[in-house]
Assembly symmetry: C2
Homo-oligomer: 716 residues x 2
């Protein structure tokens, strides 16, 4: 083991010869001699770390995974996995995010930079033991210090580099389904949004826009006028966002396949032949995203769709998901032939079932192919968690080459820390379960901790059927996530806002309009989080220091000004909320609602009818919002509303920029600094404008600690 000082808060410990994952951008150079603290260490073919947790210690982190914000009480596996049926006993989801924090008697962060499987037993086997098993002997382990949990996160986010910034339109509502089958269907869907006065900025195309599921192809039959439709819808303010899958169909005369074969761009099996797996198109090869040339080649392919007017993509199936491999299915047939010669008794019957159920995403397959990296040939299993990351990188590098100053929308299913610099993520194939609504809520801050600020879940749930009440309640949460997409699976109930009854449509419309009204705030907070290496969505305990907040997993801070407390159970017209300080409750039916109430610190029960949700404005904070519009391009925002809850002084910086270019990286942005001071009966509003040419006036509503309402119009 060697140790390296990365900076004053971070030390890197190098075990063996780690594979370079490119997840960290600041690794430290000068070797030093710093003790490996906190953990009992066991080194062998695996690296094992053991830690005795205090009774009240909390373990935060692990990004996209099941269970709560506090990870105690379960075993997690860091291994990107396509498992849409993620019941509570699963251990892995689509991302592999190896950052966590122990918060208790001792307080420290740990990032394990290792691209294959890691197992975290967080008090499952024994209530007070944290035991980590890294399946290999080569890894970098970073210990991250800080005075507070929040600082530790910031110190971590600094070493992994600034997060991805999408175009501003990506903060609009995105409608998706597997699949809107034809261009006519897509066009009439968009028209329906417009006619029904429901804002929308994007439509995702799932598999069926392609010709036989072939990447970068178009179905002549279903989308004969792809470019024309794309451009026409764009002129109406709605972007088309096609899916790109990891697997490339094996088919003669299919250019991507042939180029890949010709240039040896696909992953290979043990005989150095392209590895054969089956996914949507049937048999495929996987591009070797860990190979620089292959990555570059694949990244450039996005151009064919960009040339047709596309400005955003989602990368899917890049764990990579494998339905079956050629070897796997042949083995299965052999096993079945053997089993069927006998009467199936119980052992053999379950074996028969397992033969078939075990075909998909099998570890044998993941161990059966190889990458040709700059450091030689590497077995896939050993770098499994980097595959999706490098598909994201392929696309992002491609975009950079195609138009280096333009922001493209990009989000991926599989991910690894580092990918946050190149794109966002969605949380994969969830279900229309109330249990997945609360899981969504708990996952958001954990994902944020790992750098993925542009993220969100499939609103209303991907698999299984949503009921109207769940659809409403889920939208009431999702409007606070940067990626706000409603997506559902083939064979399930439609869940567009107007797929239910009139009441549900009206309610969801109001929720979506609120989202559009809050884009000035959400975008400002997003950009400030990115620029200051901070989280956007946080647990309360990251900002408040009282013992009770550490148990709260169903209320979240969104940006610096507000706290949310969604209702996540059926047949409820309210919920309990704990306030660590007095806050202003804005009970929202519509963005024009004026239902304000100062709620006292402590435990409160809040009535929230199905068509209401709660926005809490923190003390001495303000929330800025405008008027909604049909899409983000039409947002006017010459007049903004400021809702401030002021005890003595509140200050807010409203960040804005062009929303489309990368010039923000050069400091190109505007800032509207608003200060409100209350002194006895006098209030003062000071606005300093640096470069904002849009906002002309502010309609300020101040609510004092005593609940007094003061309104004033301020010209900018």
């Amino acid at each position: 083991m060697k140790s390296y000082i990365v900076n004053k808060n971070v030390v890197r410990y190098e075990f063996g010869k780690p594979i370079e994952t490119y997840s960290v951008i600041e690794k430290g150079v000068s070797e030093s001699d710093i003790e490996f603290k906190y953990f009992q260490l066991n080194l062998g073919e695996e690296i094992k770390l053991k830690y005795n947790m205090g009774k009240k210690d909390i373990v935060y982190g692990l990004g996209e995974n099941i269970r709560g914000i506090n990870k105690r009480g379960w075993i997690y596996e860091s291994f990107c996995t396509d498992d849409p049926n993620h019941a509570p006993d699963k251990k892995s989801l689509y991302g592999a995010h190896n950052f966590f924090i122990v918060d208790g008697e001792k307080k420290f962060g740990v990032y394990i930079d290792f691209p294959s499987k890691i197992i975290y037993d967080v008090g499952y086997e024994k209530k007070d033991k944290l035991e980590i098993t890294i399946e290999g002997k080569d890894a970098d382990i970073y210990i991250i210090n800080g005075e507070t949990v929040k600082e530790i996160v910031q110190n971590f986010l600094k070493i992994i580099g600034k997060g991805y910034v999408p175009p501003k339109w990506a903060f609009g509502y995105i409608q998706s389904r597997w699949s809107y089958p034809t261009e006519e269907a897509v066009e009439s869907l968009v028209n329906e949004f417009i006619e029904r006065d429901i804002p929308c900025d994007g439509i995702c195309l799932d598999l069926d826009y392609m010709d036989n599921y072939k990447d970068f192809s178009l179905s002549d039959e279903r989308f004969p006028n792809f470019e024309e439709v794309t451009r026409r819808l764009k002129s109406k303010g709605v972007k088309i966002i096609p899916i790109i899958d990891a697997g490339v169909k094996i088919e003669d005369e299919y250019d991507i396949y042939e180029e890949g074969i010709e240039n040896d761009y696909f992953v290979i099996d043990k005989d150095r032949k392209p590895f054969v797996a089956a996914v949507w198109p049937g048999k495929v090869h996987f591009p070797d995203f860990l190979n620089k040339d292959a990555r570059k080649w694949f990244g450039k392919k996005y151009k064919c769709l960009i040339d047709k007017g596309i400005e955003g993509f989602w990368n899917d199936m890049n764990e990579p998901a494998i339905f079956y491999s050629e070897n796997g299915i042949n083995d299965a047939y052999r096993n079945i032939d053997e089993l069927r010669t006998k009467e199936l008794n119980i052992d053999s019957f379950f074996k028969f079932k397992d033969v078939v159920l075990g075909l998909s995403n099998s570890m044998n397959d993941y161990k059966g192919f190889y990458h040709k990296t700059e450091n030689g040939i590497v077995n896939h299993y050993d770098i499994h968690n980097l595959y999706g990351f490098n598909m994201t990188k392929a696309a992002a590098e491609g975009f950079e080459e195609i138009d280096s100053n333009k922001r493209f929308l990009l989000f991926s299913r599989a991910s690894f820390i580092g990918a946050h610099r190149y794109g966002g993520i969605w949380t994969g194939d969830n279900c229309s379960w109330w249990e997945h609504l609360i899981l969504n809520m708990k996952m958001l801050p954990s994902i944020n901790m790992c750098g993925f600020i542009y993220s969100g879940a499939d609103t209303c749930g991907f698999g299984s059927n949503v009921d109207p009440e769940l659809a409403i309640r889920w939208n009431q949460l999702s409007i606070f996530a940067p990626l706000y997409r409603n997506h559902s699976s083939m064979g399930t109930r439609n869940q567009e806002p107007f797929a239910f009854d009139e009441y549900t449509e009206k309610t969801i419309k109001n929720i979506i309009k609120f989202r559009y009204a809050m884009i000035p705030y959400l975008y400002s907070e997003y950009m400030k989080a990115i620029n200051s290496s901070d989280m956007l969505i946080k647990p309360l305990s990251f900002e408040y220091n009282d013992e009770f907040v550490s148990q709260i997993e169903d209320q979240l801070l969104v940006g610096d000004s507000i706290m949310i407390a969604p209702v996540y159970e059926p047949n409820k017209s309210g919920r309990y909320v704990y306030l660590p300080e007095d806050m202003l409750l804005w009970k929202v039916k519509k963005y024009t609602s004026k239902d304000f109430d100062v709620i006292n610190k402590g435990h409160n029960y809040i009535n929230l009818d199905l068509n209401e949700f709660a926005v809490f404005i923190r003390k001495n904070r303000m929330f800025v919002y405008g008027e909604p519009a049909q899409n983000t391009e039409l947002l006017n925002n010459e007049t903004l509303n400021v809702l401030a809850f002021v005890a003595d002084r509140a200050e807010y910086d409203l960040y804005d920029d062009d929303g489309i270019s990368k010039e923000y990286l050069l400091g190109e942005h505007s800032n509207l600094n608003i200060t409100i001071t209350l002194e006895e009966d006098k209030h003062t509003i000071v606005v300093k404008n640096s470069g904002n040419n849009k906002v002309k006036e502010l309609l300020v509503t101040i609510i004092t600690a005593e609940g007094k309402i003061i309104t004033e119009k301020v010209n900018v």
Copy 2:
């Protein structure tokens, strides 16, 4: 449609020619002419009922099923189903319980007496529509009236007949696992309970005690001294409770099989040959429990185990579960042969998977066999939900013949209303999920409404792995259910109280001891519920009439005196509780805990560490408890504790009887009537003993509305 007055609260509507299910004992005789109210009716090949729900209407009922106490927002299917992976999008569980109540602007109960599939859309498709589809044209529908929901339930319970009463030892703790493999393992398990001072009254034997899963056989290898061990353990106060499965192995010289064939006791296929299915033993025939002779024959078979000292059984796999049928597997092979000739594209791959996944519990199979009933040959599908019921009946009728005055323990997996007169139920194969702990809590009152008072879930979860915290919290709920069994699947983590760490063992031991201390109360309340056709475990809204209680699904009334509010989330050291009136909180670490607190009406947050749970004593009620013992036989109860929360006057009737015979049916029981009166500073305790020879003294603790504590010893 004909209508019959059953009694002043109940009308039966007869559609077509219903199959007699024997679920109702009081059906009305005189035809009358009463309008079919409430529902819009559609008659055809199916019977459809439609009802417009008011915005705040609650729908209670449907017994053993998923989701909440209020069933609104989902679709349910009444069709006994073996689905251990019951995620939130499932529609059926193991029981089929067709009683529900609409509570709102109108208030009425409905019982649909129909033995095949019924679909209930309770505001799923449209938020305010209740739509019921009965898959057939012959059914009895009962409309049950009453002033209150509670009265409606009581009026329903009266027409279905008094519920099953197990022996008193069945209120002890029961340990189970699939499987304790040998008699040595069972014996050492019992000794471990005794050595560790953890009470236990029964050990369930799962499949492996049998010879090759053959009903009523014993494994010579694993249980060579079955009778000797059974009797030795019984002398230590622990009963052995073997499993009996529905399927009878096809095997020459196996007596049960041969007798069944000889006498034509098995269900038949369309060619009138015994229907071949496969379950645990491999190929089996199903006894035709709907045939009186077959039922009688099977019931008598229990004698061979009773003769060896057995006093209790659990009937399993009686939906009936089918792993595959002979026809099904042959079709599957044919399909696979066809599919494998081509490259599996995506459609064919999923078809391939479905071929295998669809083998078990297929509707084709359920439609492929027949019963020979007193009314001729009936297709199984048409009476599917009666199968488990009639297996329970077979056993109970057998017991009656073997020893008509003895109570046997009997609980079943599949059930239908009517079976509640013959045995209890457990809620089938759940999982070690926190989500199934709260599901367990919500299911208990629904099951109670349908007459199944002796019931409970697999404590700590059957499938998947339990963590120590979940094990503790689950026990804290299960002690309030009459059937308190810890049961787990092969391949999962062991979950006996001592399978974890020292803290967890100690905590669970204290919880189990509390259960034993409360048996006087639990048994008394159980028997009073049975005798007065009432529920034991109720939602708060059945007793309190304020608007908020109708939304509470995570607090329950257990008997007349207490309310429980278990913690059901990980990493929590407390929870919110709503009190509809002032109550006394007894925070229990041990049964000897003296941590009392008067909690005011309204919303409260209650701290409950992992080793604590809450018992709330209602106002002017009392809770009676004794000293725990190693098993129920050793309970002494000469001295009982009375914990009373008294504003002015509390009265309690402590029922008791011999706990083993059926003489309670003839009125043989004792009653200890305790009255406590508070007048200004004076308290009066009056005890009237009618026939109780056990209790010698009462240690009374009175806590007044103001929190004053008064203690007094009273001789009986």
